[in-house]
């Protein structure tokens, strides 16, 4: 089969690989009908997250049709079922899964000895996302083996196009969880850094959850226009001061809730010296993350407020203003997304026409064009916001 394969930094190729096989009774194989390139795939593209090996298949936003099931799937899936595959692999049986903390499932990371060493404790296995999280082949391919398939799936009905459902795999629940973690109240201002795909979903989620005001921060006109279309007031950080504007828009109080949809590769600008220093340190491997957004959020958030971090950080961040964080009594909530905790509700909202996540798609191309689209997406060429691949 064809698959997008990681060969090294900035080197993803469309290779021919062997087909996946059932390895465990709880496995299923799906024929992929749609998959997408996620912003966090770019961290792997840039080799900023350790643990990728040449030959690893990329992709963790995938849906398709079940073509084979293992004997232990227990009738929960059958051939022909249409499923969206959550990016977190879950067993559904461990203590964390029972608590709904699916992204920290204690069972599914088959290389947990690595995660135990790096993170202190293992997290869930993830598709196409380094050997720290299991080294599972990803879904940017024609076929995908879904481990623990009896639990790791979202069954979706026929009649709704792939484009509306695909993002249940990651970015929609990720943006949703980011907003839910904020405990949004009707008087709240929610500020969202980054108007990429997760940022766009977080904006819509904050609106759905009843925020009084949503403010979106980015520098790309196409993304800001999309944010505005979703109901946000926008700030272009290249032309205006984020802190001043946020204070203006909140009568000097600062936003009650702040969401970081940027993560470890924040924009580098000469007018923001900390970003230059972070970049230099990242280049010589003296720091793994560029946490400018975290610093700015801590500085500007209203005392007693909540900071929600769905953006990906991989390792060590320097110079976080912990004094301000502590003295302002802020709360930080973060984590990979507990996808299955939210998807029943989100699927219902899609079915009822409350939201249509396909608004974010700007490019749909065959799988073979994937390597090129990684570059287009990374370079923000052609006003690219979200790429869907069709195997």
């Amino acid at each position: 089969m064809k698959a997008l394969v990681w060969h090294g930094k900035e080197d993803i190729r469309c290779d021919t690989v062997t087909d996946p096989e059932i390895q465990d009774p709880r496995d299923a194989i799906i024929k992929v009908t749609s998959c997408a390139i996620c912003g966090s795939d770019l961290h792997l593209f840039h080799n900023f997250i350790p643990g990728m090996l040449p030959g690893d298949i990329m992709g963790h936003e995938t849906m398709g049709e079940v073509v084979e099931v293992g004997s232990g799937v227990d009738g929960k899936l059958k051939k022909g079922d249409r499923i969206v595959v959550p990016f977190t692999i879950i067993c559904g049986e461990c203590d964390q899964c029972k608590r709904g903390n699916f992204s920290v499932c204690e069972t599914t990371n088959r290389k947990r000895h690595l995660a135990d060493k790096v993170f202190g404790h293992t997290t869930a296995g993830l598709f196409g996302y380094t050997h720290l999280t299991g080294g599972y082949p990803g879904g940017q391919a024609e076929y995908l083996r879904v481990p623990y398939a009896d639990a790791t799936h979202i069954k979706v009905p026929p009649g709704i196009p792939d484009e509306q459902l695909l993002f249940l795999s990651d970015i929609f629940p990720t943006g949703w969880q980011a907003a839910v973690q904020c405990d949004i109240e009707p008087t709240d201002t929610v500020a969202i850094w980054g108007c990429g795909p997760v940022g766009q979903m977080a904006i819509r989620s904050a609106i759905l959850l009843g925020a009084n005001q949503v403010i979106a921060i980015d520098c790309l006109p196409e993304r800001l226009s999309m944010a505005e279309a979703g109901g946000a007031t926008t700030i272009n950080f290249e032309t205006e001061s984020v802190v001043e504007r946020l204070n203006d828009l909140t009568d000097g109080r600062g936003p009650e809730k702040c969401i970081d949809c940027v993560g470890m590769e924040s924009h580098v600008m000469a007018s923001l010296p900390d970003t230059l220093l972070d970049r230099a340190k990242q280049m010589v491997m003296a720091e793994s993350d560029r946490p400018h957004v975290l610093r700015e959020m801590i500085y500007v958030c209203r005392p007693g407020g909540i900071i929600s971090v769905p953006g990906v950080y991989s390792g060590l961040s320097d110079m976080l203003p912990m004094g301000a964080f502590m003295n302002k009594g802020l709360t930080m909530r973060t984590g990979q997304t507990h996808v299955n905790r939210w998807t029943d509700d989100l699927l219902r909202r899609i079915e009822e026409g409350e939201i249509d996540p396909s608004f974010v798609i700007t490019h749909t191309v065959p799988l073979e064009q994937g390597p090129e689209m990684y570059q287009v997406f990374r370079d923000k060429r052609d006003s690219c916001v979200k790429v869907v691949l069709r195997p």
Partner: protein
């Protein structure tokens, strides 16, 4: 490389049968080669500065050579990073410093001036490659003033934003009332 990584791959996981084309350009390969060359040269300069100064007849400048070694290593690491362009321009600047330092040693009484002339020739050649690679690896991001598509009609709310906001307000209203009633009960 994937042949080696296939050794640790779990049995049954897909393995590469036939590799597809790489989008790496020749200038990317050149940047990589220059990056490793820079690190190699830097290591020599840092750990064996006396060998370098003796070869060039510039004894007494070991500290400068060692500093140049650190500069070469940093520029090399930058050239191998995602921001290779910055690393390559740093190398171009470094080539200028190298040339200036070599010229300062090109005096009539230096018995090794032939070696310095040779080193200058090499620095010139490498500088041309550095400059070429720096030019060719400029970021391909569109300029800020480039015309871009905008998406003003992509709300994502098929029933409109106002409908969503109204629904959210309706859900919030009973919850507010419950809180108020609870607060009243707590008032002494």
């Amino acid at each position: 490389m994937f042949h080696f990584s296939n050794i640790v791959r779990t049995k049954g996981d897909p393995k590469i049968v036939e590799g597809g084309p790489s989008l790496k350009r020749p200038e990317d390969q050149l940047a990589r080669a220059l990056g490793w060359f820079s690190i190699g040269l830097g290591v020599v300069e840092f750990f064996a500065p006396r060998r370098v100064t003796e070869t060039l007849g510039m004894e007494g400048h070991e500290t400068m050579v060692r500093a140049f070694g650190v500069r070469e290593i940093l520029a090399g690491i930058m050239s191998l990073s995602v921001d290779k362009n910055a690393g390559l321009w740093a190398r171009v600047g470094g080539d200028g410093l190298d040339a200036a330092a070599l010229l300062s040693g090109l005096t009539a009484d230096n018995p090794k001036k032939g070696n310095i002339a040779l080193a200058l020739l090499m620095v010139g050649g490498i500088a041309m490659l550095d400059y070429r690679a720096a030019q060719d690896t400029r970021p391909r991001r569109p300029p800020r003033e480039a015309r871009r598509k905008l998406y003003p009609n992509r709300s994502g709310f098929p029933k409109g934003i106002e409908s969503v906001r109204t629904a959210a307000r309706q859900i919030a209203a009973p919850a507010d009332n419950e809180v108020k009633q609870g607060d009243e009960r707590r008032v002494p």
